[in-house]
Every structure is written in structure tokens, then in C-alpha cells.
């Protein structure tokens, strides 16, 4: 596994406000970097820039490396990043296994089926293989969403307030599930809740840009 490296990232809004200026950080595999800061400080924009889905009117410059490969200019679908957002974005027109297959790399049919059954089993979701996402509970949806990301065999994982919408009892459970599931990846976590941050994480505080 390779480290995720951001160098000299500057993001400028159309009104010339700089969300971040010459920001650099590196996340080694197995490490978590928690990005913290007030809303509007640019946390989500940094994440969007890393996935290559930043809105066109926002200007950004900087370098992005995954190990020795530059990701700048690589289409989103070729970056091999896992992404979890506040909402789970389970595709409502696909069942749970179809959602997972959408994430899974192509290959041998039996092997793919096995991977899905196995991962759902490990996550305690075996009975929900053919379920309609609309019938799942919040915690189940979060887990399926994470599984979908992991099955796409990402080289890094980006989490944007992934636990914010869960109720407090579930939250701790999903946190543990998440950190256990992505032990070997570099993980970037955006949050405003200190309780989300695991013990092995580094923390990067962003300044308030609303001056």
C-alpha cells in the first residue's frame, strides 16, 4: 500500500477567498488524518479536489500523489479512492448485492459472488444480500456503503462526516466497524466531532476563512 500525499494545495473560491493556502500533508497506509475546522473552512472542498469532483467555478492548484503516481488529471473513476459521505448514497434502484457488485472489480463470477457473501457475512449482513436498500436501517446502510467502497479495492479512503447522521448508540458501533475494516489504507477523515477521531489518528485543524 502507498501513502496519500497532498502538496502545496491552494483552493480559491470565485470571490477570491482562499479556502486553503499551500496546504501539504501525507497519510501513510494504516494511518488516519482527521481534518477539523469550522464549517466553510474548506474541509469538503479538499476532499472533492482529491476525488476530482470539485465544482468547476472553484479554482484549485497543487499536487496529489498516491505513492509514486500523480493523480492530478486522472479521471475520478481511475483514481481508485474510496469515498463515504454523510449520506450513504446507496443506489435506490439496485438491491444490496447489486450495489456491492457495482463497486466490485470485474472478474470471475463465482469469485465475485464469494467476495460479496463473505464481506456481507463478516459485516453481519448476510441475510440482507438481496434486500432493497430502502428497507435497511441507518446502521445497515452505513455498513453496506462502506463495504461497497472497500470492495472496489481502493488505495485510499476518504470519509466526509460519515457518522454524523447516525444516532449516538449506533455511531460508536459503526466507528469501530469502519476502523477495523480499513486498517491497511491511508484514511482521510473530515469531521467536526472529536469523538469520531480514533486513537491512531493525526489531526489537522483548518483555519476559519470567514474573516
Amino acid at each position: 500500500m502507498n501513502a496519500l500525499r497532498v502538496e502545496q494545495l491552494t483552493i480559491t473560491l470565485p470571490n477570491d477567498v482562499k479556502l486553503c493556502d499551500q496546504l501539504s500533508f501525507t497519510i501513510e497506509p494504516g494511518r488516519v488524518l482527521a481534518l477539523m475546522g469550522p464549517s466553510g473552512s474548506g474541509k469538503s472542498s479538499i476532499l472533492s479536489w482529491i476525488t476530482g469532483t470539485l465544482a468547476k467555478e472553484i479554482h484549485a492548484s497543487g499536487e496529489l500523489w498516491l505513492g509514486g503516481t500523480s493523480l492530478v488529471g486522472v479521471p475520478t473513476e481511475k483514481r481508485r479512492l474510496g469515498l463515504m459521505l454523510q449520506q450513504d448514497y446507496l443506489f435506490p434502484h439496485m438491491s444490496v448485492d447489486q450495489n456491492l457488485k457495482f463497486g466490485l472489480q470485474s472478474g470471475d463470477k463465482v469469485e465475485r459472488e464469494r467476495k460479496i457473501t463473505e464481506s456481507l457475512g463478516n459485516a453481519g449482513l448476510a441475510s440482507l444480500q438481496h434486500a432493497n436498500p430502502a428497507t435497511l436501517s441507518g446502521g445497515q446502510r452505513s455498513r453496506v456503503s462502506l463495504l461497497r467502497s472497500l470492495l472496489s479495492e481502493p488505495c485510499a479512503l476518504l470519509l466526509d462526516e460519515p457518522f454524523a447522521r447516525l444516532d449516538s448508540q449506533l455511531r460508536q458501533q459503526i466507528r469501530e466497524f469502519t476502523w477495523a475494516a480499513c486498517k491497511e489504507l491511508p484514511v482521510l477523515l473530515v469531521t467536526h466531532d472529536k469523538a469520531d477521531i480514533p486513537a491512531h489518528a493525526d489531526v489537522l485543524e483548518l483555519a476559519d476563512n470567514h474573516a
Binding site: S48, T51, G52, T53, K56, V72, G73, V74, P75, T76, E77, K78, R79, R80, L81, G82, L83, L85, Q87, Y89, F91, P92, H93, S95, F102, G103, Q105, H130, A131, N132, A134, T135, R148, S149, S152, P154, L158
Partner: protein, 558 residues
Amino acid sequence: MPHFVAHGRVLAALAAIGVALLFTAPLLIGLTGTIAPAFGLMPELAPGNGFLQLLEDPRFLPALKLSIKTGVIATLLVLLFTIVALVCLHKTRWWRWMLAALPPLLAIPHAALAVGLVFLVAPSGWIVRLFSPWLTTWERPPADWVVPDAGGWSLIAGLVMKEAPFLLLAAAAQLPRLNVDALLKIGLTLGYSPARCWSRLVLPTLYPRIRLTLFVILAFNLSVVDMALLLGPGNPPTLSVLLLSYVHEPGFRAAASAGALMLAVGMAAFFVAVILIEKSIAQVAKRRRESGHRGHGIGLFRQIGKYSVVALILCSVFTLVALLLWSFTQRWRFPAALPDTFTARHWLGRSDLLLDPLWATILFAMFSCVATLVGAMVWLEAERLDAVKKIDWLWYVPFFIPQVTLLFGWQAASLITASDGQWLTVAYAHWVYTLPYVVLILAVAWRELDPNWNNAASVLGAGYWKVLFRIRLPLLIKPVLQAMAVAVAVSVAQYLPTALLGAGRHNTLAIEVVTSFGGVDRRVIATLAVLQSLLPLIVFSLALLIPAAMQQKQQQHS
């Protein structure tokens, strides 16, 4: 800019510009083909001075007056109907029922509605038959009125029945965004009567949002051809119909073009006039708002308003029932309330009479449906990728140029290029008239869909096309199917483009209903009109049922 994105965007931009050019080219060619003959610039095709020919025709001024009268009165009544329906029905148990009834009524083609209306309100029509002779003592139809009447009131009634649901639905769609319930509550607690709450609190914010629709309706009412042929007076007819007869009259193309041009200019003048009237009404309304008058809520008025709205809707439903009855009639003499003898032979006996036009109609409708969907998707995707700018006004252009103005010129061009009468020419015209609806309907959903759906799929490794077809389209299935249904409905209703560019070779149901109205067996016309109405009703039902069925299938799985 990353290279790959730039590359994709250039392609998207090129495709989108292609769509826009395909859309605007006939508009420009059509206008040129009308303007040039009007000013004597095409002497071979259109000899003579068109404006002089026009002014020399004793029918011109009466026809112009009639067009203005029917167009303006019908539009005012449509607006009145909408306001009355809002004030009198909103928050009553009728409201939801009405909102459910309106879309299918909106889907009934103009021609079918017009034919049905005649069957309903003529002196020997169904209404009189229902009440004769036991109530009216009429053994023979009364001679006191005729349909279509010389004053244009039948046409006005038809236009109101067709356009009122359109404006009312447009207005109803805006209500949730205006927070109407809160506005009404505040107004009522301040002591204003319900009607005053609407006129002083809701309408001032609602009107700007339905104004464009109202303008579209005014433009349509001033220039409509098919309904005017069926419901308008014949002698003289409305201006559009008179101009259409010129096109077919040897040596009168210059006059037709000049008239069509005047109609377009006159329409623009009307828009200016409406804007001025709006301004003065706004002034008055402002003063009234500040006056503090509370008004007395008059329950009777609300009751009258409520029942007149319901009556109008029932009238539309009854036109359909009248058509259906006639299509199964063998004999039905006045004053029997129902047919004396029924038969299914109009449906079964002469399949060529129904199947040929049905097939022609379906082919154009399917082409319009698929080709406009592709065109709209190309444009909206390019817009989403920031490859082209949003230019919603462009799609409104065909709504604001009278059909005769555009199509006379287009037909002249098709004569010169020998493309008249060809299937593709007619299909192209259907596409141009259908595309705006599809783009405008899809645009809302397309722009509002959370971009994170795209992003979530992309980071999982799905490329552009996979995201488009596996994620974006399925998520937007409802609006996509609705837009396709509207495309079918619009294409099925097209009369003038098919008639003018088709050189009589492409007899769709719309053409058959309009051209056979004067002569053919009433029962056959009814059958054609029912068939023409069924097509959009079927596709609208499918547009509702398919997503529901898909959802149910998924739920059964779980």
C-alpha cells in the same frame, strides 16, 4: 484544466451545439422563408405585393379582429379560471381530486377535444339530447344557436378547456415553493377574507412565476390553427386559418407570408401591451394592499366559483364520453339521450381507416420521443459538464412564433429543396416542436439531482457512460418517462407541421380528425378522435405505472 476533462467537454460542447443548431436552423429558415416572400423577395414563388393583397381582401380585417377577440378573451378566461380554482378549491376536498383529473385532460389532443365539444354543445348535441324533450319540450333541435358560432365563442370555450388545466397545473406546482399555507394563515389571522388573502398575499408572488406560461397560452390562443378550423367561425375564419387558405390558393403566398409576419409582429405588440397592463395593475394592487380593507368573505361566491370550476372539468370529461359513445353508435337520432343501436364496426370493420393513420401517428411519436430525449440529454449533459451555457430562453422561441409564421417559410424552403412530403421533413418538424417541452421538463430534474450520486459512482470506478446509464438515468426515471410521455402527446397533437410539410402524404390521426371533420361520418370521426386521445393517455399511464412497477418488483425481492 486536466486534459481528459477538456477532451470530453469539447465533444460534449460539439454535440450540444449540434443539437442547438438543428433546433435553431429551421426557426431561422422558416422566418426567412416567410419574411422574404412577404416583401416580394421571392417573386417566382410568391408574386405580387403580399401586404396589398392582404388589405384588399375584405375578410382580412374581420379575421384579424376575430383572432384578437378569441385569443384575448380565451386567455383572460384561462387566467380567471385559474385564479377562481385556486381561491375556491385550494384546501377543500375537491383540490386533490382536481389535481389528479387535470393531467389526463391536458393530454387530450386539441383536435379530439374540439370535435367532442361540438358533439356536446351543438343544438343537436348530447347536452340538449339529455334534457329533451322531457325538460325542454324540444322535439327538434333548437334553432337559437349554432356550433361553431359566428362570434367565435365555441372556439373560446374550446381554448379555455384546453389551456386552463395547463395554467392551473403550472400554478399548483408553484404553491409549495411559495409557502402558501403560512401566507394564508397569517392573512386570515390578520382578519382578511380568504379571497383577499389570495389577491394580496399569494397572487403577487405567484403571478411572476406563471407569467411565462400565461404568455405561451396567449401566443397559442392568438395563432391556433387546428382548433380554429374545427371550432372557429368559417366566414370569415380566424386570421391563422385565413392565412392557411392563402397558402393553398394559387398566387396568394405573398399575402399568406405577409399576414403571417403581421401576426408575429402583432403578437409581440400584444406582449408589450400585457406588460404595460401588468404594471398598472401592480400599481393598483399595491395601493389596495396598503389600504387595510379586509373585505367580507362571501361564501356564495366561493360556492359558485367552486362549481363552475368543477363544471368545466366535467365538461372536458363529457366530451370524451360523447366521443366514446359516438364511436360505438350505429344509429342515434335526436332527441334520444343515448344511441338507439350500438355497433363495434367503426372499430373493427374498417381497420385500414384507423390503422394507417394510427401507424403514421405512432411512427412520428416514437421518433419524436426518442430523438428529443437524445437531444435533450445531449444538451443537459453538456450543460452539466459546463461545456455550454444555460440558455433556457432559446427553447421558448417556438412557443412565441406563431406556427403559421414559422411553417409557411419552412414549407417554402422545403418546396425549393424538394424535401416537402418526405417523412424525415415532417419528423424533423415534430422534433423541433417537441424538443422544448422535453428539455424544459428534464432540465429541472437534471439540474437538481445531487451531484454526489455521480461522484459516488465515479469513485467506485464507473466511467462516464456507465454512470449516465446505470445511475443517472435510473435515478431520473420518473421525469425521463414523463418527458417521453409529453413528447408523445405533443407529437400526436401536431396538426399544422404535418399538414404543411407532409404535402398530404402523412395522414396522422390529427390530420384525419381535422380534415374529415366537415364531411366524413360522425361516428368515424369520433372513433379517430378517441384513438387519438387514447395514445397520450396510454403513454401517460405507462409513465406513471412503469416506475411504480419497478419499485414494487424491487420490494418483492427483499
